[in-house]
């Protein structure tokens, strides 16, 4: 257990640092510039410097906030982060606990994020924060449903909540081949769930300054940041498990394959972010309800029918 804990903590921190660096590099190269360059080799230490700087930064608690909640929110958003890694199958024998309710656990604990965003936004007593939080939640809940439903069509095919079983079921063909629509829907929803562009309304800086964490400074803000990038990793990992055959691959060890796939999906999400403008909020919501959810349901029913027929 101790080993697992240390491993997860190391993974969480290294992953976040790496992802932020990667994000900045990807963005930079898309934009014809080098990105972080001067801090370490090609800016490799840039995010380390950022992290340490954040630790050494003052924590301001504004007067008008709802103190207990304001202080708790960053911790609450960090709560589920480690737990989510419990059930992710990195390799056939590199899975901390292969729970029976694996994927449900991920969904259940992810829903805590919503609560903490609400806490953060509401307690800040700042108009931008409140607005950002409300929007963030409306968006998260709207996209959670198609996410669940698409995941369901996979569960329907596998007949288990165990993530390892889902991977095992893809020994012949990855589900992305059978369920391309579900994959597309999942990626869209995952992008929205992690509040990333083009669904980054909650932190849309041109409207709401910095969204729900406008009033957070220093490491408190850093925790939100950390949680965001970890969530990105988790949704990508789930996508890998559900659609890309998890650790399956040739020659290279399974863990490497798993990470390659995860980072490929993360790259895709980053690529979205640096290409698209932002949707307007009502468009975003109605897109979820009018397009994604009906499609997801249709996909589910068609899957069920197909299982019956074949």
């Amino acid at each position: 257990m101790i080993v697992a804990l240390i491993g997860v903590i190391a993974l969480v921190s290294v992953n976040a640092l790496f992802l932020i660096w990667m994000e900045r590099k990807v963005a930079a190269h898309i934009q014809l510039r080098p990105g972080p360059m001067e801090v370490g080799f090609h800016g490799a230490l840039q995010t380390v410097a950022d992290a340490i700087k954040l630790i050494g930064k003052e924590l301001i608690t504004p007067e008008e906030v709802d103190r207990p909640i304001y202080l708790l929110a960053p911790i609450v958003i960090f709560l589920p982060v480690l737990v989510l890694f419990l059930v992710i199958p990195f390799a056939p024998n590199l899975i901390i606990r292969d729970l029976n309710v694996g994927i449900l656990l991920i969904f259940a604990f992810s829903s805590l994020t919503v609560l903490s965003i609400l806490m953060a936004g509401w307690s800040s007593n700042n108009k931008y924060s409140v607005f950002g939080a409300i929007r963030s939640i409306a968006q998260n809940i709207a996209y959670e449903i198609p996410l669940l439903i698409t995941a369901m069509s996979i569960i329907l095919m596998v007949g288990s909540f165990k993530l390892s079983a889902i991977v095992a079921a893809q020994d012949k063909v990855w589900f992305v081949v059978i369920q391309p629509l579900a994959f597309l829907l999942y990626i869209i929803c995952a992008t929205a769930e992690t509040n990333r562009a083009p669904f980054d309304i909650p932190e849309a800086e041109s409207e709401l300054v910095a969204g729900f964490h406008t009033e957070y400074s220093g490491m408190r803000f850093g925790l939100f940041f950390l949680a965001e990038y970890t969530n990105m990793f988790v949704v990508s990992a789930v996508a890998t498990v559900l659609f890309l055959g998890g650790w399956r691959g040739w020659i290279l060890p399974p863990v490497v394959w798993f990470l390659i796939k995860v980072y490929a999906i993360i790259f895709l999400i980053m690529w979205f972010r640096w290409t698209f403008p932002r949707l307007r909020f009502d468009q975003l919501i109605s897109f979820a309800w009018k397009v994604l959810i009906p499609l997801a349901f249709v996909n589910l029913l068609v899957t069920a029918l197909a299982i019956k027929l074949f």
């Binding site: 911790i75 509401w122 700042n126 939640i137 569960i155 007949g159 309800w289």
Partner: protein
């Protein structure tokens, strides 16, 4: 005790949760010790684009958000009921399971249909027509 296995699994969850708290608190405490302080007169005031904040932010939001929350509530609950059913799907039924799921899904879809018809997803711009 016949549920040791379950408990053992969830002991992990509990401990991971606790460690997460510690892990989150650590940097905050370090920051408290290491960070210098600033003491401008406006330091602790609510940020509002550089001018004094006017009024509280705890105001009432548009009802539209509440409606979204409601629809979500309905869906979430419904959808979750599908989970156990899906596991049992295709195990020894002829058509019954498919039909039941289809009925179930179509009934909850009516919520969206209704909301769509009522214009919940359509944000009207003119107050007269709202």
């Amino acid at each position: 005790m016949d549920n040791w296995a379950v408990l053992h699994d969830f002991a992990y969850v509990l401990i991971f949760l606790l460690v997460a708290v510690v892990f989150a608190l650590g940097p905050l405490i370090i920051a408290h010790l290491l960070a210098p302080r600033s003491f401008g007169p406006a330091r602790n005031q609510t940020y509002e684009c550089g001018i004094p904040a006017q009024g509280s932010a705890w105001v009432q939001v548009a009802i539209i958000y509440y409606l979204f929350a409601l629809i979500f509530l309905a869906f979430d609950v419904d959808v979750l009921f599908l989970f156990p059913v899906l596991l049992a799907f295709g195990e020894g039924y002829v058509w019954r399971d498919l039909i039941e799921i289809a009925i179930f899904v179509s009934i909850i879809s009516l919520v969206i249909v209704y909301a769509w018809c009522r214009g919940v997803f359509w944000w009207k711009r003119k107050p007269e027509s709202r």
